[in-house]
């Protein structure tokens, strides 16, 4: 059962992981984007459509990423240029993405695609216990293993990482490097949208091989919550995404064993666990919130 739950955690958690990582980059630059849900669902639709037309999931992936990026560009324009409220804009973007993808995805619902298939990695998948859990997935899942360290390295070990974090913390840093904070924020939000689009693509072309309107079912919103749970740290975001996925898997595993708990209480499990986990890690993270975000969260009044 442990293997079952952990494998299920990765299967269900990967799409959320991409979106969470993207949102993390965006928030590090001081922009919170509830529109991640909109980017994700648009990415799912575009990736599925492009895969259906071209026959190649890689082309689908590219379209999904671009769709997520384009949606997030609206967010970037409104909050960076027009100084609109970040949370309200994000929520609007969510509705927009849901509506747009539902509208243009209508003819796709009964399409069958050749999406990303699970590939057992030779040798590695033979490792007892761990092999089964980690190395029996689709390519996008494997890429996500590489993405997280890459983002960590970028944020904390490169010049551009310092600049990006500067945009969220202290604009002087950005000026010191001769860059424009506005441009950096734009790029960060776009990177966030792109990764959310990839997350959506993973959901539609690798995880489920399905497009149906609204199929993200709040996963993009969860991603925003997980970033805060993660204290804006990439590896902790990974843990959060798998925790969330694991709660899904655990819920199903318990059901399958006829455990006498109301399924409605089990359905709450992923959300309650996220809340509890946030509660546990909260105390340390207050001073870790990028200063730029504090304005959004605490100055949100008017």
């Amino acid at each position: 059962m442990i293997i079952e739950v952990l494998t299920g955690a990765i299967i269900a958690g990967t799409s959320v992981l991409y979106a969470t990582t993207g949102e993390l980059i965006s928030e590090r630059a001081g922009v919170i984007n509830l529109g991640t849900e909109g980017s994700m669902v648009s990415g799912a639709m575009a990736a599925f459509a492009a895969t259906a037309w071209s026959g190649s999931p890689w082309i689908g992936l590219a379209f999904g990423a671009i769709a997520g990026l384009l949606i997030s560009l609206i967010h970037a324009f409104l909050v960076i240029d027009r100084k609109a409220n970040q949370l309200a804009t994000g929520l609007t973007i969510m509705f927009f993405g849901l509506g747009l993808s539902a509208f243009f995805g209508r003819s796709l619902v009964d399409k069958q695609i050749n999406g990303f298939e699970s590939i057992d990695i030779p040798l590695l998948s033979q490792i007892p216990f761990v092999g089964r859990i980690l190395f029996t997935h689709d390519v996008l899942t494997y890429l996500s293993y590489l993405l997280v360290p890459a983002v960590w390295f970028f944020l904390f070990r490169t010049k551009w990482g310092i600049i990006l974090r500067g945009a969220g913390e202290n604009e002087q840093v950005v000026y010191a490097y001769g860059k424009s904070p506005k441009l950096v924020r734009y790029l960060a939000v776009m990177a966030g949208g792109l990764l959310a689009g990839v997350g959506g693509a993973q959901l539609s072309t690798a995880f489920t091989h399905t497009w149906i309107e609204g199929m993200t079912q709040g996963r993009g919103i969860i991603a925003v919550a997980l970033v805060i749970f993660a204290s804006w740290l990439p590896f902790r975001a990974m843990l959060g995404a798998y925790l969330f996925g694991g709660a899904y898997a655990l819920q199903l595993a318990l059901q399958g064993r006829g455990v006498d708990i109301s399924q409605f209480l089990l359905f709450m499990l992923p959300y309650v666990l996220t809340l509890v986990a946030m509660f546990i890690v909260e105390r340390k993270q207050r001073n870790m919130m990028p200063l730029g975000l504090k304005d959004v969260f605490e100055g949100g009044g008017n």
């Binding site: 009964d110 091989h209 399905t210 899904y248 059901q255 455990v259």
Partner: protein, 378 residues
């Protein structure tokens, strides 16, 4: 002070406006007052409301296809459709809107549209309502459904026959009677060929969440299930995911055999078209009252309202023959899948030996039969 004044004026305007709407808001259809036209008579428009979107390879698709059959049968008829109509009082508004657009025949096609439809029906005695899936009716509102559990039983027979482990799975949404009835019928069907067969149930808490569906199939596969059926509004993901894991699947709502020809076993599917056309004809000719549709109508295999989907490529001939025999027995009425004794999960006798349940009893089911692994919240 100016702002204060403004605020008061605004409040006053709103109040006046809402009070004004009183005078003209009589929602009774004015054109029929006096004359008591038969419900739906002479209607030139037919309205359909759906709880989801039409193309979900499932419940709403089946009902939508029915509306298309009406469209084809009456080329001059205008068809009004509204999708994603929630099962709340919002449905009332949509139906009123359809009536204001001239529809006198309305199909609310989800169970939860019943109460809103009852309210609207009371206000519009000249409009005929055909509601899908209820157990209550009114003067001008009939409710219809199909005995899809008959087909679910047959697919259970097929599933039990092709399963090697005897472990079957069922991906379902919520513990509501339609769901429980199908799971029970399916399990009884499987047990008729393999008395030890069990059905493991996975609730998704949603009518259509492909992510949850895929996770459910994976989870059931881990638990050793080798045939999976489902009760979801969108059915494609479960069938395809099972296919990729080389697990056999049984469909629901619509024939999806082309999605996975090798692992597809069969499925319980709807055929609303002929019924919808007949109901529409009855209403517009003014014969609603006194027809078989003015109360609680149930059609099954023998009426052609529900069907068994074509078999998949890998289903052996002897299984096909067996299922066809059972089907003939159900159609002729010589066999009833829920004829007692039927025991619930914890061994209580729910239907006594020699008793055949009525439609009301069947459709108010609140238990799983013996052999189902799963838990209904109480």
């Amino acid at each position: 002070m100016k702002k204060l004044y403004l605020a008061m004026v605004i409040a006053a305007i709103m109040l006046v406006l809402s009070a004004c709407s009183n005078e003209g808001s009589a929602t009774e259809s004015s054109d029929s007052s006096g004359e008591s036209a038969a419900p739906g008579e002479g209607s030139e428009k037919v309205g359909f409301i759906f709880v989801g979107t039409k193309d979900d390879y499932g419940y709403n698709q089946a009902a939508y296809d029915g509306s298309v059959a009406v469209e084809e049968a009456f080329p001059d008829m205008e068809i009004l459709r509204s999708e994603n109509v929630p099962e709340t009082a919002e449905a009332e508004r949509v139906m009123e809107e359809m009536i204001r657009n001239g529809a006198k025949v309305i199909f609310p096609t989800s169970y939860g549209h019943l109460e809103p439809a009852m309210n609207v029906a009371e206000r519009h005695p000249d409009v005929a309502f055909f509601h899908q899936g209820g157990l209550k009716n009114a003067e001008n509102l009939g409710t219809y459904f199909g005995n899809i559990w008959q087909a679910a039983y047959l697919s259970g027979v097929a599933a039990g026959s092709v399963s090697e482990s005897g472990n079957l799975g069922y991906v379902v949404s919520f513990p509501i009677p339609q769901v429980l009835l199908n799971v029970n019928a399916f399990t009884l069907g499987a047990q008729s060929v393999n008395p030890d067969a069990t059905t493991t149930v996975a609730f998704t808490g949603s009518w259509c969440d492909p992510g949850q569906q895929a996770s459910s199939v994976n989870s059931l596969a881990e638990q050793g299930v080798d045939v999976i059926s489902q009760h979801q509004d969108c059915t494609k993901t479960v069938i395809e995911t099972a296919d990729r894991l080389d697990i056999k699947s049984v469909g629901y709502h619509a024939d999806a055999s082309t999605l996975a020809p090798e692992t597809w076993v069969t499925g319980a599917i709807w055929n609303w078209g002929d019924l919808f056309v007949d109901m529409t004809t009855t209403a517009i000719e003014g014969n609603f009252k006194g027809s078989e549709y003015d109360g609680i109508y149930r059609g099954g295999l023998s009426e052609g309202v529900v069907e068994l989907a074509p078999f998949g490529n890998q289903v052996p001939d002897d299984v096909k023959t067996l299922v066809e025999e059972e089907k003939a027995a159900i159609e002729s009425g010589e066999f009833h899948p829920f004829a007692g004794p039927i025991k619930s999960q914890n061994g209580d006798v729910k239907i006594e030996e020699g008793v055949t349940p009525t439609t009301d009893e069947l459709e108010a089911v609140d238990y799983f039969v013996e052999g189902v692994i799963g838990n209904i919240s109480e």
